[in-house]
Amino acid sequence: MVEAAWAYLLSHPKLFRDALVTHLTLSGCALAIATILAAPLGIILSRSPRAALVAINAANVARTVPSLAVLAIMLPILGTGFAPSLVALTLLAIPPILINAYVGIRQVDPDAIESAVGMGMTRLQVMARIELPVALPVISAGVRTAAVQVVAGATLAAFIGGGGLGDFITSGIALMQLPLLLVGAVPIALLAVGTELLFHLLERTLTPRGMRPGSS
């Protein structure tokens, strides 16, 4: 079966490449849009406790909504294809990034901020030199959670005509062609694990040297 899957891959290189490119584009765009929207919003929310209470609670509820529900509900609203999938995946990525951006800024030691202010830093300087660097590992952990969720969610885009590697699985099940299942499932699994590892690495690089585990 593995050989058959490999043979299929070699005989349909363009089909596979297109699916992979769609999968990556869909995931990458959704993650980028969600980060651009949600990270600044989370940071702004850390300044207004009352709005934050509402927004963070809403994000926590939104987080429990199943991925398939978010994708499927796009069908009656926006129809099938790439755009509805992109909207759905962006919506899926927003809650974890928003929550972590908010938590990341909130957990900055108030003493550190106070002493920075005492040293004559402006509010903008405090944000750029103290709050953001300290919060960055937590923010990027949120982006990592969102990234893994989006890569997995992009598999489900196949159900609403969004393309991607999930197409191989849906046709594999429809035709009961076991090798096709592998052509979809193995790259998807590797992609998800790879995303997790890549963002772990990024998180470590973004952690200020003094905050890394092992540095006293």
């Binding site: 079966m1 509820v61 429990t64 909504v65 199943p66 991925s67 398939l68 529900a69 978010v70 499927a72 509900i73 069908l75 009656p76 893994v148 890569v151 997995a152 598999t155 489900l156 159900f159 609403i160 999930g166 699985i169 849906t170 594999g172 099940i173 076991l178 299942l181 592998l182 979809g184 499932a185 193995v186 998807i188 699994a189 998800a192 694990v193 997790e196």
Partner: protein
């Protein structure tokens, strides 16, 4: 939405199937996780590799995992339950192990000093003290499984995903809305109910 009113029995059946699929999966996962967590608390060496393997399982997208299970166990409820159990292990093992580890050492020592056996210690001292953390794990696992179980309908496991998928196939928005809405409602409800239980247990412990 006329459809929903005339098909309440179908909708009720799908909801029931979904609830059963989720309950069976979480229950099986809990029993496995409990045994593994106790083993890991006696043998700390095995904990990191167990976390590594279960984290790997957790990362694999559900549709891919179900697809990989088809050649081994075919379609239907069995691969669905295997997949759903696999997703719950990381969270449940981690929280049960953490809960047990956080029991104060002097409490354990006092219990041992009173002549308690290992099982009595576990059931009457360690478990009740670890319960809030264990319930927190149960909440996250249940919410996750409710969501992934919708996808299991694609491999013929039944449940609310069936409504979603037939709605997509027949271009029938009402079915999609009802299936997606009920699955979301079940997830949000489980989250709220179990976090209330968690808070109550914590409050009792603090009192």
């Amino acid at each position: 939405m006329q459809w929903a009113l005339t098909h309440l029995d179908d909708i009720g059946w799908a909801t029931w199937e979904h609830a059963v699929l989720v309950s069976v999966s979480v229950a099986v996962a809990f029993l496995i996780s409990f045994a593994v967590a106790i083993w890991a608390s006696r043998q700390p060496r095995v904990y990191p590799p167990i976390m590594g393997i279960t984290a790997l399982l957790y990362t694999i997208p559900s549709l891919a995992l179900f697809a990989l299970l088809i050649p081994l166990v075919g379609l239907g409820r069995v691969p669905a339950i295997i997949g759903l159990v696999a997703y719950s292990l990381l969270i449940l093992i981690r929280n049960i192990a953490t809960g047990l580890r956080e029991v104060p050492a002097d409490v354990v020592e006092a219990a041992l000093g009173m002549g308690m056996g290992p099982w009595q210690l576990l059931l009457t001292i360690e478990m009740p003290l670890a319960m809030p953390v264990i319930i927190a794990g149960l909440r996250i696992a249940t919410v996750t499984v409710i969501g992934i179980a919708t996808i299991a309908a694609y491999i013929n496991a039944g449940g609310l995903g069936t409504l979603i998928f037939t709605g997509i196939a027949q271009d029938f928005p009402a079915k999609i809305v009802v299936g997606a809405g009920l699955a979301s409602g079940m997830a949000v409800g489980a989250d709220a109910g179990l976090s209330r239980l968690e808070r109550r247990l914590r409050a009792r412990r603090a009192a």
